[in-house]
Amino acid sequence: MGTSQEQWRLLRDRAQSQEPSGPRLLVGAGSCGQAVGALEVAAELRKGIEKLGLRVAVVESGCTGMCYGAVQVTLLGDGVPATYSSITPSNASASLAAILKKQTLSFSPEAFLWSSDSQNGLPGVNSIPFLAGQRRILLERCGLLDPEDILDAVRHGAYGALAGILTEGNPSQVIAIVKESGLVGRGGAYFPVAVKWEGCRAAPGEPKYLVVNAEEGEPGIFKDRHLMEGNPHGLLEGMLIAAYAAGSSRGFLFVNGEAKLSFQRLSRAVDQARSVGLIGKRILGSDFSFEVELRQGSGGFVLGEETALLESIEGRRAMPRVRPPFPVESGLWGKPTVINNVETLSNVPALIGQGAGWFQTLGTGKVHGTKLFGLSGNVARPGVAEVELGRTLRDLIFSLGGGVAGGAGLKAVLLGGPSGSLIPPQELDLPLEPGGKFPLGSGGVVALDDHCSILDIAHTLIRFNANESCGKCTPCREGTARMAAMIARLEQGRVPSTVSDEIENLSEVVRLASLCGLGQAAPYSVLSGLRYFPET
């Protein structure tokens, strides 16, 4: 016990003593930030700083989630951080002076301080609608630390919860806390996390594996990427705690093949964690050892299905396995395996650090904690937002998202990606929670304005499912293709009125007979479209 405490203290001291002096500019260089010129902005800032002869570091960080405000630049230094939106390569240099003095900037419509108070004309965070409505726990550090520096993460509190349990906890305590908190998985199935960990721990077989599902392959959702780019150490800490609790000694981070930046930053984070003794043998001097490998997916929506993902790690074509056996009993290479989603594990450090009681204050009476949502489509302020469970689509789209872009009317919301439902405006006030009327999926919210054709959307979604069907089971592979063909005929309008019934019948077959969640959920968008938008 003594050694863990001692080693942790040494690491923390080292982090403190190496704290950079002087101001730093964090450029929001997540993948969406980079798409609109974040790296160029960073380069311009460095040039400007050099020209002025200043000693200011420019760091490429993750993003805050305010995609609509990218590129954002945040000043870290004395006092409260200040963030400036809408910085471009051409105005970056010109913005330097104002940013460094925390003054307002005419071409940065949204500039604010990360405090409740305003200063120098810069408003506080509460006056920014996109942020004011959020409860940022997982996102707390995103955009505000250097994702490629483990010591920066440690200074922000990372690995504190892990050190705590390694010093004076034990696995059953961890499981008990998670069980009490009621934490459920955030990948879409909302399965109790503690049940998996406990099952794996109890199952015979060594080694036990912990697999992080960072595949996030569906269109309209990008929150896991956001976490990996912005706060990779938060995920690693959650992973380590989970492994400790589940009795696992080997882990895999399975990252979507297109999420190159996530992969890069996680690789670096893993290397750094290994170099400071947070991954490897006898972590922080304790009896807990854990090795981590990264794997890059090579495409395919089905990889998000956990057993297909296991097949892929084992070197086979990604196709789901039959269950039972469940992965906690017989998963990777037939060994007990826990598979958790990125967001799920990112919940763990704060939960362990602050306790189940605290966690239960979040959310509704039924479900606890926060949830990340990706806002996109015809919404004024697209981005990644974290809210307590139980908030409504109206909150997300109107309060946070600023309503429909361009002033059009809202026709529908696609909740949960291509496996999700098309929700009519009259249902916007339903609370967003697992087990509700509409499945949340992994949290994709796509607003569709009244220029959209529901039939066209449904066709697009079912075509996506048909193309992404792994091909293993007949109802999904054949059924989705046949559904797509039927909807195409419906779109062309030259069909007997019975086609809708045929589609509905086939949808039922696909939903009930398919092997995995992909096929089972594939007809939802079509079914909800037919049900709520009968006129189309």
Partner: protein, 900 residues
């Protein structure tokens, strides 16, 4: 019984581990199960076996739902039927009917459709695929494919080959091979496991399916693995091209290779011998049995003792072998009987008899699967023992075993190996002594085993003095660190034990016996013997080479390896056979050739062997055998040796007779008659008995000892004389093969040997000396080393496989493998004709440029194609103690051949 559940209101019992589908099937309720191969875990792909289970949401697939006590299952509620019908309609919609062909019998899918009133035309066809006819035995017709995935599972998880896979995704998913090319471009070995499991005939034999009148379970006639096969006989009394595998067979577990699955066509080949032939006026002319038998008896009666010798057949049954050696010893008064083991494993047997006291493989195929380390030495198992190679691949892929391949040539197994030790040809004795030295230096030996189970350790240890890793690395060309790694893997496997497996690469050298001793020393010093998953296995070549030796077709032993030197053994047989048994050992094959050459051997009776293709230095062998005053050959084809015989007797093939074969894991298995004898052919045993009776009569001796009522009686007589077979009889064999030793009728048979001790008492370390690597090494005139071996598609010299059209199509030419550097020196490209010559002969073949062989070495399989065969070139120099010829190394010259 594990419990009961209710299916459609009927209480059904289930066993531990059974699924709901198992219980449904047992209850006799029909449920379609298109993707379920009975012997394989559920794939869960076809979704046509859905049921309703009380308290369970939705409609679970019964194939992957375990039974639980008290479960209430409904298979035919309206709701579940509706869903199943929907799935079957989608499945039916996948078929694109062709132009009338192939649609006659969709097997399991048709049955499913018949039972479920679906609308057959719910969906129009989407795809039309060209039929892939590139493989010789079967086609892939994707228009009939329902993507159940069984073929892929068979290829990847049963055979561990991975030639076919599902490729593409969504409704573009299809069965295909790497690169989406034709199947012939792939690593497919034509084993047919996929064809056997296909439920729709999308993968089907090229020959039109025919009605099956009879199914007869028997044992494969090709290699020593001894796979179970079921021959299909049509109403015209002909074997169908494709055989069925036998999942219950413990040796093959439902696996087969291309020869086993598709290679029985030789049985009906028009060139089968159908009548006796007698050499008259310069040619062989047909005769009656009466005349031929009389000539044979008349002539043989004139020879006895050292004037006569016989070769028995390792392709024939145990009973044939037993009767043959009885004839030789009892009637002809000599011990000069031998068989092809002389040309394959005699050094192994010699060394094992010296060190252990028994010449058999110690362990079983299942031990290979469970081993933590497999060291495969001088054996291209994927070509020669394909189904054993599956076990190796499975050990590696499923259980993480370490695989060490020791071979100068790249072989298929190298792709699965952790280590490939590519030793210089002929340096194996040094290599294995070097490994043993490392084991001792690093303290990896098994002290307890050495102490309690072995002898001569210190003397042997002293002999290793100079086998330092550095020196051994120099001699063998294997890097020191690889030697060390191999020693560590082998001595300390992570799980189970280590299996040491070897083939002709060890034995067919002038140092053959020394090589085998070096292997045994390594197994002894590490204690990798006498336990499950750990032991020694010289892989036997012919289907019954084990049994032929067991039956006593060797010049120094009576049946059951009871030495002729041993007076007690002689007395036992003399009492049973009522004749004295000679004490002096007979001639070995290679000595027979020499004795024929010098005229002391005057007459021979050769059964089921073709020495004029299998001997080394064929020109020499032909000259010798041509000098015989009388040669009788008994076989199924008129091969090279039969052509020079005075009388040729036509024998039945394996499909036309009863008997037993004993495979490489000592498992005695039944051979059963599937069809009536072709033409006037007779079973070997019947012919030998008839000859014996006639010779006895001519000699005026009592005509007794050869009046068996059938093979079962011959087996009983042998079992009564051979303690390790004493508990085996035909009745017991009906329930499946039995592994000897099986001393009593209630003994279950023996999976591995030497758990308590060795037949000779303690295992003996034998110091070995690495002699000159080979008798003939390259020089200016003959600058290349020739290595010989076999290929998957031909059996040995090819007498059988050249007569199976589809096999010949897969390997129609004699390929001379040559390294790219040599090829460019000679200006050759793959496909170019070449002439290869040695001091003894020449052959022509087709160059195959490959890095599988080293620079300076060429490889030629010993199959004869047209007029060319490797053994025209090979050297008859032999190992002094076992007399095996050096097939593996000789010096040759290569010349590009002008295109014909």
């Amino acid at each position: 019984m594990a419990g009961t559940l209710t299916i459609d209101d009927v209480v059904v019992e289930f066993l531990e581990g059974e699924t709901v589908l198992d219980a449904v099937n047992r209850a006799g309720i029909y449920l379609s199960q298109l993707c379920k191969e009975p012997e394989r875990p559920a794939l869960g792909a076809c979704r046509t076996c859905l049921v309703q289970i009380e308290g369970v949401r939705g409609f679970p697939a019964s194939c992957s739902t375990p039974c639980r006590p008290g479960m209430v299952v409904r298979t035919h509620s309206a709701e579940v039927e509706k869903v199943r019908r929907g799935v079957l309609e989608l499945t039916r919609g996948m078929l694109t009917p062709g132009d009338g062909e192939g649609r006659k019998n969709l097997a399991q899918l048709d049955q499913a459709i018949k039972y479920t009133s679906i609308s057959p035309d719910a969906y129009p066809p989407i795809h039309r695929y060209p039929i892939d006819e590139s493989k010789s035995f079967f086609v892939l017709d994707r228009n009939l494919c329902i993507l159940c995935g069984r073929c892929v599972d068979a290829c990847q998880q049963v055979q561990h080959i991975g030639a076919i896979a599902l490729i593409g995704k969504g409704h573009e998913t299809r069965v295909g091979v790497f690169g989406d090319h034709l199947m012939e471009s792939s690593i497919c070995t034509s084993c047919g496991q996929c064809v056997a499991t296909c439920p729709t005939q999308a993968l089907r034999p090229k020959r039109e399916p025919a009605p099956v009148a009879r199914r007869v379970e028997t044992t494969c006639p090709y290699c020593g693995v001894g796979c179970g096969i079921v021959l299909h006989v049509n109403p015209q009394e002909q074997l169908l091209e494709m055989v069925e595998d036998v999942p219950e067979n413990s040796s093959s577990r439902g696996m087969l290779c291309v020869k086993g699955r598709f290679g029985t066509g030789f049985v009906h080949h028009p060139s089968r011998l159908q009548k006796p032939l007698i050499h008259k006026g310069g040619s062989l002319v047909e005769s009656s049995w009466e005349e031929a038998l009389d000539v044979v008896a008349e002539r043989l009666a004139g020879y006895r003792g050292e004037e006569f010798a016989a070769l028995a057949s390792a392709k024939a049954t145990n009973e044939d072998g037993y009767v043959m050696q009885k004839f030789v010893r009892m009637v002809m008064g000599t011990n000069s009987i031998d068989h092809c083991t002389r040309l394959c494993h005699s050094p192994s047997v010699e060394a094992m008899l010296t060190s252990l006291g028994s010449g058999a493989t110690s362990n079983s195929y299942i031990d290979y699967e469970e081993a933590g380390c497999l060291m495969v030495v001088g054996s291209d198992s994927s070509s020669n023992h394909p189904v054993i190679a599956v076990r190796f691949r499975k050990a590696v892929q499923k259980h993480g075993a370490k695989l060490i391949v020791v071979n100068p040539k790249w072989i298929d197994l190298c792709s699965y190996a952790d280590l490939w030790l590519r030793e210089n040809p002929g340096t194996d004795a040094a290599l294995f002594s070097g490994l043993a030295k490392i084991v001792l230096d690093e303290g990896l030996e098994d002290r307890e085993f050495i102490e309690n189970r072995t002898e001569n350790f210190e003397e042997w240890k002293a002999s290793l003095e100079e086998c330092t890793p550095r020196r051994i690395a120099q001699i063998t060309g294997v890097p020191e660190e690889d030697l060390r790694a191999a020693a560590r893997y082998y001595a300390r496997p992570a799980h189970g034990g280590s299996c040491l497996i070897w083939g002709m690469g060890i034995t067919q050298h002038i140092n053959g016996t020394a090589n085998a001793h070096a292997l045994l020393n390594l197994a002894l010093v590490t204690g990798q013997m006498g336990k499950p998953a750990g032991g020694i296995s010289p892989l036997r070549g012919q289907n019954n080479v084990q049994g032929c030796g067991d039956a006593g077709c060797i010049p120094d032993s009576l049946p059951g390896y009871q030495l002729v030197r041993n007076a007690e053994a002689r007395a036992k047989f003399a009492a049973k056979w009522e004749v004295p048994i000679l004490e002096n050992e007979g001639l070995r094959v290679t000595e027979m050739v020499e004795a024929a050459m010098d005229g002391t051997l005057k007459a021979m009776y050769i059964v089921g062997e073709n020495p004029l293709l299998s001997e080394a230095d064929l020109h020499h062998a032909r000259e010798a055998l041509s000098k015989l005053e009388f040669l009788v050959v008994q076989d199924i084809f008129l091969h090279e040796t039969a052509e020079i015989a005075h009388v040729v007797l036509p024998a039945c093939s394996f499909a036309e007779k009863e008997g037993t074969f004993t495979n490489s894991e000592r498992r005695v298995q039944r051979v059963r008659r599937a069809i009536a004898p072709i033409g006037e052919t007779r079973p070997d045993m019947d012919i030998i008995c008839e000859v014996a009776r006639r010779v006895l009569r001519k000699r005026g001796r009592a005509v007794a000892g050869f009046d068996f009522t059938g093979p079962d009686q011959a087996f009983s007589e042998m079992a009564s004389l051979v303690p390790f077979l004493a508990g085996i009889n035909y009745q017991r064999l009906e329930k499946g093969g039995i592994q000897w030793p099986c001393p009593t009728p209630d003994h279950p048979g023996t999976r591995y040997l030497y758990s308590d001790g060795f037949p000779r008492g303690r295992g003996k370390f034998v110091a070995v000396h690495q002699g000159t690597p080979a008798d003939e090494l390259p020089d200016e005139e003959y600058p290349l080393i020739l290595n010989t071996g076999r290929i998957l598609y031909h059996w040995h010299g090819g007498t059988l496989t050249r007569r199976v059209e589809g096999l010949l199509a897969l390997a129609p030419q004699l390929e001379v493998e040559i390294h790219p550097n040599d090829a460019s020196r000679y200006g050759l490209q793959s496909g170019a004709p070449v002439r290869l010559s040695s001091r003894r002969g020449e052959l022509t073949g087709m160059a195959k440029v490959t890095v599988a062989v080293r620079e300076g070495e060429v490889f030629v399989p010993f199959v004869r194609i047209e007029e060319s065969a490797a053994n025209f070139l090979t050297n008859s120099a032999h190992d002094p103690s076992s007399r095996i010829p050096e097939y593996k190394v000789c010096a040759v010259r290569l010349e590009p051949e002008p295109k014909k």
